[in-house]
């Protein structure tokens, strides 16, 4: 019987799940993903985790509780660093220890350290260490690793086209899990289906620009511009809203109370940080006086700088979890950059376990209304000005 490995649906799930899924499947392990985030999972997490932790970490605790009894191994790698010269977050580095010392009756934990701070070669090293739990054959593990990389790149490529990772993962991964849909509002389903169809229709169109993350140095910015030209998600929607934040805050709809879908429903095209080319982001984040030493930090700041260069963005939303140490700095830097450079509407949506959905709705609606009003007002001004001018000229 194949060994069961449990992957909690939280934190880096939204980033690396496709990689690990293909890796473990290739090695013949059976993957069990925890259920979608729900009240129950959140409550469980809040109960077990220290009060001071941020919401995503609490949710992660809930997910671990959710699967710990169903699996032989818990997969909680220690993500110290996933990019050169950068760390993820002290909590990511400590999560296996936090879990091990807080929850009881846990299965064996795979907590191999993933640390690419010095060199990216460490990824293979970590993969081999992890693969060892399921195979003695180094060659097979390396093969699985390569396959996993391909899946990962494909996944990132698809996200770049404007599909939220959450949707992609739901559609491809555990259909079984998907039956359990009570966590989603009807809005979610509606958009989810719509999006799926859209994706199918556009598949041919997109296949031409399949491109490796690493080799697109010569891609023009035009190609990466989700809202311009052929990649425009849906041209009859009126507003282009960029959403910044960590993947687990953006794509876990329960965690952010459907914020992204609400924005969509109010008629916004959404571009998230994961839909922008990494090269552009890296280049921009290098403009900082001192580059941040956090993966999320560099990404978000680079992305914000890029957005400020463009003129097709109507508003920027920053989704942050209350008490996030990194966001407390990064969000502030982003806000300063926006205020200094451009008068673009900006809103911070802070989420924690006490955030009420009604308040969230009101804020999002008010934000969108404000942008629409501004757009209308601004265009009124210009036409008004013209009109006056014309009157004057005709009077002469």
């Amino acid at each position: 019987m194949s060994k069961k490995i449990g992957i909690p649906r939280g934190l880096f799930y939204y980033q690396f799940y496709p990689f690990w899924k293909s890796f473990f499947e290739e090695l013949g392990a059976e993957i069990v993903v925890s259920d979608h985030t729900s009240r129950k999972i959140l409550d469980e997490g809040v109960k077990k985790c220290v009060d001071e932790a941020c919401l995503p970490v609490k949710i992660f605790f809930g997910h671990v509780e959710n699967i710990k009894d169903k699996v032989d191994y818990l997969f909680l790698p220690r993500y110290t660093s996933v990019s050169k010269k950068e760390y993820v977050c002290p909590k990511f580095g400590g999560i296996p220890d936090m879990i091990r010392n807080t929850l009881s009756d846990l299965p064996e934990i795979i907590d191999t350290e993933i640390n690419l701070r010095r060199t990216e070669k460490n990824a293979l090293k970590a993969a081999i260490e992890i693969g060892r739990y399921f195979s003695d054959d180094n060659k097979a593990i390396k093969k699985a690793y390569k396959k996993a990389l391909i899946s990962y790149r494909e996944f990132r490529q698809q996200v770049k086209k404007g599909i939220f990772p959450g949707e992609l993962l739901d559609n491809s991964a555990n259909r079984v899990q998907n039956r359990n849909k009570q966590n989603f509002s009807p809005i979610y389903d509606m958009i989810n289906i719509k999006n799926e169809d859209k994706y199918k229709n556009n598949e041919d169109k997109y296949s031409e620009d399949k491109c490796d993350d690493k080799c697109n140095g010569d891609r023009s910015e035009e190609d990466n511009n989700l809202f311009n030209g052929k990649n425009r998600i849906n041209s009859n929607m009126k507003l282009n809203i960029a959403v910044l934040g960590h993947g687990y805050n953006l794509y876990d709809s329960y965690c952010n109370m459907n914020a992204l879908y609400k924005l969509r429903n109010l008629g916004a095209n959404i571009i998230t940080i994961d839909m922008i080319d990494e090269n552009i982001i890296n280049e921009k984040s290098n403009l900082l006086n001192k580059k941040t030493f956090w993966y999320f930090g560099s990404k978000i700041i680079g992305c914000a700088y890029h957005l400020l260069d463009r003129n097709d963005i109507d508003g920027i939303v920053y989704v942050m979890s209350f008490g996030c140490g990194i966001d407390s700095f990064i969000c502030d830097l982003v806000e300063r950059a926006i205020r200094r450079n451009k008068n673009i509407p900006f809103i911070i949506l802070t989420i924690d376990e006490h955030t009420g959905e009604a308040g969230m709705d009101t804020r999002i609606e008010a934000f969108i209304d404000m942008i629409r009003w501004r757009k209308k007002y601004e265009s009124d001004i210009s036409s008004h000005g013209k009109h006056v001018y014309m009157c004057q000229s005709s009077a002469r």
Binding site: K91, G94, D97, T102, K290, T292, I326, L333
Partner: protein, 371 residues
């Protein structure tokens, strides 16, 4: 150029000596006060950690006194401290202060580069002079920490309550009127002598508490509501491994010169916290274990709200508490923390430790007589 730097506990003493010796013109920010915190809270993002708020307040107060350049140490993560310099720069810029922020990044083995940066600051002072000044500043840091440790020992045993505080607080106030490492070292020695003359009750066996947690809040008396002084006054002997001099010697000097470091805490922490995750989380976990092994009665963890590494440590400490049978009290501080509520918790903890000790003694006797 008028340099300034933020406060962190007694660090101003050794920085002052360094700047004096290198003939750098500087302004010492006023000691941290309620006003400092208010300025900081107003301009720093709400969720940022408390030390950023206080240090920004320090810098603004120094700016009002005419400082135009900030001296900060940098870092490369993962905890937020390494990015303080940039936050200061951005905030000071947006406040329209035009203050220049100079960051001294830890040299990471590149000693020459580090010295070059200091040289730039000092109008090209000779390398010998710089090294000499650094050596003396380090010596002062160590001496000041030793002095503080001495107060930890004497305070609970003093016969006349308040004797230590009178001498020690006067030292902290008057030291700023001196100039150069020579005078400062002399003053430290005199103070030490005075402290040693205080009459103590040697038969008194105080409770022993280890202090762990985030460096700023544990070192800085203003931030921690002078908890170490207060505990001493309540007849408790405290100890703390993490100090300014420890940070300088372990993190800067030993790492730069690649000397072996004292990593007992890391070894002790390993079964609970596998790697370094930033800040002082590993020290917190490891030192708690060391205190338990050394027979301390309890441990107090102090950290500022939202501090990432200490949150990890906090979630691990209950396991240490259970495995090593040592009570741990966690105190979290932010700008809203009220002194009264804070000390109620501390007092309750002390009561608990007293009861535990009595119970142990009774049990000890019982076992003896049972034999």
């Amino acid at each position: 150029m008028k340099v300034t730097f933020p406060h962190m506990g007694n660090m101003y003493i050794c920085v002052k000596a360094l700047l004096d010796d290198l003939d750098i013109d500087y302004i010492l920010p006023p000691f941290t006060s309620k006003k400092t915190l208010e300025i900081g809270t107003k301009h720093v993002p709400e969720c940022a950690c408390l030390p950023l708020k206080i240090t920004l307040g320090n810098l603004m107060e120094a700016y009002e006194l005419g400082a135009d350049t900030v001296l900060m140490v940098g870092g490369c993560g993962p905890c937020r401290f390494g990015y303080y310099c940039e936050m200061h720069r951005e905030i000071l810029h947006d406040l329209g202060t035009n203050m220049k922020v100079i960051t001294l990044e830890p040299p990471h083995g590149d000693v020459k580069e580090f010295l070059r940066r200091i040289k730039n600051l000092t109008n090209n002072a000779g390398i010998f002079k710089i090294l000499h000044a650094i050596k003396n500043a380090t010596k002062i840091a160590i001496a000041v920490d030793d002095l503080e440790r001495l107060t930890f020992k004497i305070r609970p045993r003093e016969v006349e309550k308040g004797a230590v505080n009178e001498i020690y607080n006067q030292f902290k106030r008057d030291v700023i009127n001196l100039k150069g490492s020579k005078e400062i070292i002399k003053f430290i020695e005199e103070t030490e002598k005075k402290l040693l003359q205080i009459k103590t009750d040697e038969s008194f066996k105080p409770l022993k508490i280890g202090i762990v947690g985030e460096i700023y809040t544990t070192i800085d008396d203003y931030t921690s509501f002078s908890i170490q002084q207060r505990l001493g006054g309540m007849g408790v002997e405290v100890h703390r491994y993490v100090t300014v001099s420890n940070w300088i010697t372990e993190h800067i000097i030993k790492q730069t010169l690649k000397l072996p470091r004292d990593l007992r805490f890391a070894k002790a922490a390993r079964p609970y916290l596998g790697t370094m995750i930033g800040g002082h989380a590993q020290e917190t976990v490891g030192n708690t274990i060391l205190y338990a092994q050394d027979g301390y009665d309890g441990v107090i963890q102090i950290y500022p709200l939202t501090c990432m590494p200490e949150i990890v440590a906090e979630s691990i400490l209950p396991a240490v508490e259970r495995d090593y049978d040592i009570p741990v009290l966690t105190l979290i501080i932010d700008e809203m923390t009220g002194e009264a509520g804070y000390f109620t918790r501390v007092e309750a903890f002390i009561d608990l430790l007293h009861r535990r000790r009595e119970k142990k003694q009774v049990e000890g006797k019982y076992i003896l007589s049972g034999n």
